[in-house]
């Protein structure tokens, strides 16, 4: 047990290596895993565990995912790598109709403990088919857990928790976070489904997840300099999401702003905002990307990006807004 500094990618690799040491049923499969994965998040695992447990596959997303389902039914605990979340669109039957439905439609006869790693998000002019954030699609899907780690420690803890559970987990790492360094305490074992309150404020609750958490934290610092005192909550897990933590903080501050990099329209922010509006007297607002594909040119990519400046402006706008009927 030790605390060490590592990147978000290294933290994922460390968690997977630990799970593979502790449980011989854990295997990983996907394209280019033998070379450490496209982002280095599997580096060293082939050497440590061999090609039978770190399985290089053909470019066959349907069968990679479907094989993960079959492996899980036959007693393994597979981790399936989709390279970028956009490619999981080639495996949607296997995710939606097979992995997520198996336990229910067969009346609980089987379990599918399958961790599906789908790297999301904007990353270095990757354009329309390598930049998307699909968390709302999967939060809508009964049968799966949806995890969005924002820090190296979270990536370590949440991946371990996913590998120790018995549910299919949609595990959404953000591509811009791979190089993010932080301390990782391998004795920590935070469960899935718990939000982290990163900052306690008095006037406003900002809820976010994944890479947008870091922009939200920067925005809160900027707002503090203006005398606006905001809470920042990293939701971490989108299903099941920590309603109690969000409702408690929002009820206290009276204002909720949900921020995510994914498209705002029909995004998961709408679910959080609606829930808070239904259960508290809060004024609520959302901030997500416009409903446009991500463009290649840096100016186009940046135009759809939710940064600290936009979050701070959305917070000011929310606090200025008058209650209905006032």
């Amino acid at each position: 047990m030790a605390v060490s500094t590592m990147t978000y990618a290294e933290a994922g690799a460390a968690a997977l290596a630990r799970a593979m040491r502790e449980d011989p049923r854990v295997v990983a499969l996907g394209e280019d895993l033998g070379r450490g994965g496209v982002f280095g998040q599997y580096r060293g695992l082939l050497q440590a565990f061999g090609p039978e447990r770190v399985i290089d596959t053909p470019i066959s997303e349907s069968t990679i995912m479907g094989a993960g389902v079959g492996m899980a039914l036959a007693g393994l605990r597979p981790v399936v790598e989709m390279r970028v979340a956009d490619f999981a669109m080639c495996a949607m039957d296997e995710i939606v109709n097979q992995a997520a439905k198996n336990r229910f439609m067969f009346g609980g006869q089987g379990r599918v403990p399958l961790v599906m790693r789908l790297p999301i998000g904007l990353w270095s002019s990757s354009a329309a088919q390598h930049s998307q954030s699909f968390e709302a699609w999967f939060a809508h899907l009964p049968g799966v857990v949806v995890a969005c780690p924002a820090t190296p420690q979270d990536n370590h803890d949440m991946l371990l928790a996913a590998l120790r559970g018995e549910d299919p987990v949609i595990y959404l790492e953000h591509k811009e976070l791979w190089g993010l360094k932080g301390e990782v305490d391998d004795a920590r074992a935070a469960p899935l489904g718990r939000a982290r309150v990163l900052r306690h404020g008095q006037q406003l609750t900002i809820v976010s997840w994944s890479a947008a958490v870091h922009a939200a934290t920067q925005a809160a610092a900027a707002l503090a300099a203006e005398g606006i005192d905001a809470s920042v909550i990293d939701l971490g897990t989108l299903w099941p999401w920590d309603r109690e933590a969000v409702l408690a903080d929002a009820a206290r501050t009276g204002h909720l702003l949900v921020v995510h990099e994914a498209i705002q329209a029909a995004g998961f922010g709408a679910e959080v905002a609606a829930t808070v509006a239904e259960h508290t007297g809060c004024r609520v607002a959302r901030l997500g990307a416009p409903r446009v594909p991500v463009g290649y040119a840096p100016v186009l990519e940046a135009h759809a990006r939710i940064d600290a400046g936009r979050i701070a402006e959305a917070a000011r706008r929310l606090l200025r807004r008058q209650p209905v009927g006032a």
Binding site: P58, S62, T63, G66, L73, P78, V144
Partner: protein, 336 residues
């Protein structure tokens, strides 16, 4: 093939036939499709019911070579595979009735019939969806060093979906203990498969990818059994994947209420004329098995299935709260 083996195959086919005819009777008026309204609120079997009447020899002939520990994936037309793999017919029928005593507790119905306790990992409502799952199950068995194999049934329509090609390739490169069985009833839902399919079909496509394939008369249960037995023996010996292409005929429509107006009546008559049970009966008679002995098998199958219908009918519907169970452990189903 000796007489006891053929009698055993005949018995399996008779049980499948009796099961499906009973299911069809219980579904009258309960299935809505192709413009036909569901007219009866009292039908016991509801929803899409895909019958394999006329195709029983494929399920019986292949599953005769499977052991309980072997695994199996199936299609939307999966009653025969499930029964032949050894599932309990009472619980199967109760599942079609949507009852709590069903194999899936009433949560799946005909299209998702499954009995994991006998290695039957599920029928599937999506064409070709079983192939990748079968690959994964076979991959796991190989990594675990366990002896069983996986049998994967799919139809001729499935060979035009991408997972067919992906899964054949996967099974070869990892040398998996996997028997692919193309149960070719010549129809992709309500459209003839042949004009929709380039090249020479399932066996040719398999061979192009390096999966040795055998084509067999799928209505000759002895031929299916002999071919499947040889392929299963090769796979158990470590050969890697094999494909059996069984040519059969679908007698009924795509679903039970499909009147098959699109189909040449002569084609349906030909399908009926090559009934695998009739052909097996003729062969048994030629082997000096008495007609009374064969009739007794039929009668026993009907009695067994009548008892299954009674069991299903007596089983209560699931508690409504079961809609919220078996969803997931963390974040289980709930109203929010």
């Amino acid at each position: 093939m000796d007489t006891p083996q053929l009698l055993s195959l005949y018995r399996t086919m008779a049980r499948i036939r009796a099961f499906e005819e009973a299911a069809e009777r219980a579904s009258q008026g309960g299935v809505q499709a192709f413009g036909a309204a569901a007219v009866s609120g009292s039908a016991k079997v509801r929803g899409p019911l895909h019958l394999s009447i006329g195709q029983e020899a494929v399920a019986a002939g292949v599953c005769a070579h499977l052991q309980r520990a072997d695994l199996l994936t199936s299609t939307h037309r999966g009653h025969g595979h499930t029964l032949a793999k050894g599932a309990d017919v009472n619980r199967m029928m109760a599942e079609l009735f949507g009852r709590s005593g069903g194999s899936n507790g009433g949560k799946g119905g005909s299209m998702h019939i499954a009995d994991f306790s006998v290695g039957m990992l599920g029928a599937n409502g999506v064409v070709a969806a079983g192939l990748p799952i079968a690959c994964g199950a076979a991959h796991a068995l190989k990594l675990q060093g366990r002896p069983p194999l996986v049998a994967c049934f799919f139809g001729d329509g499935a060979i035009n979906r991408g997972p067919f090609m992906e899964s054949l390739n996967w099974a070869v490169i990892y040398q998996l203990p996997l028997l692919f069985v193309c149960e070719d009833n010549r129809f992709s839902a309500t459209t003839a498969t042949q004009p929709m399919t380039a090249g020479d079909g399932a066996a040719a496509r398999a061979q192009a990818i390096g999966v040795p394939a055998v084509t067999v008369d799928g209505n000759d249960v002895a031929a299916v059994s002999e071919a499947a037995g040889a392929l299963v023996g090769q796979i158990r010996g470590g050969s890697g994947p094999r494909l059996l292409h069984a040519l059969t005929w679908r007698v009924k429509g795509h679903v039970s209420v499909d009147g098959q107006a699109y189909r040449d009546p002569a084609d349906v008559a030909a399908a009926r004329a090559t009934c695998p049970l009739q052909r097996a009966r003729t062969r048994l008679l030629a082997l000096d098995v008495g007609a009374a002995e064969i009739d007794a098998i039929d009668a026993a199958a009907h009695d067994e299935i009548a008892a299954a219908v009674a069991f299903a009918d007596a089983s209560p519907p699931p508690d409504a709260a079961a809609a919220f169970t078996d969803v997931q452990t963390l974040g289980a189903g709930q109203w929010l």
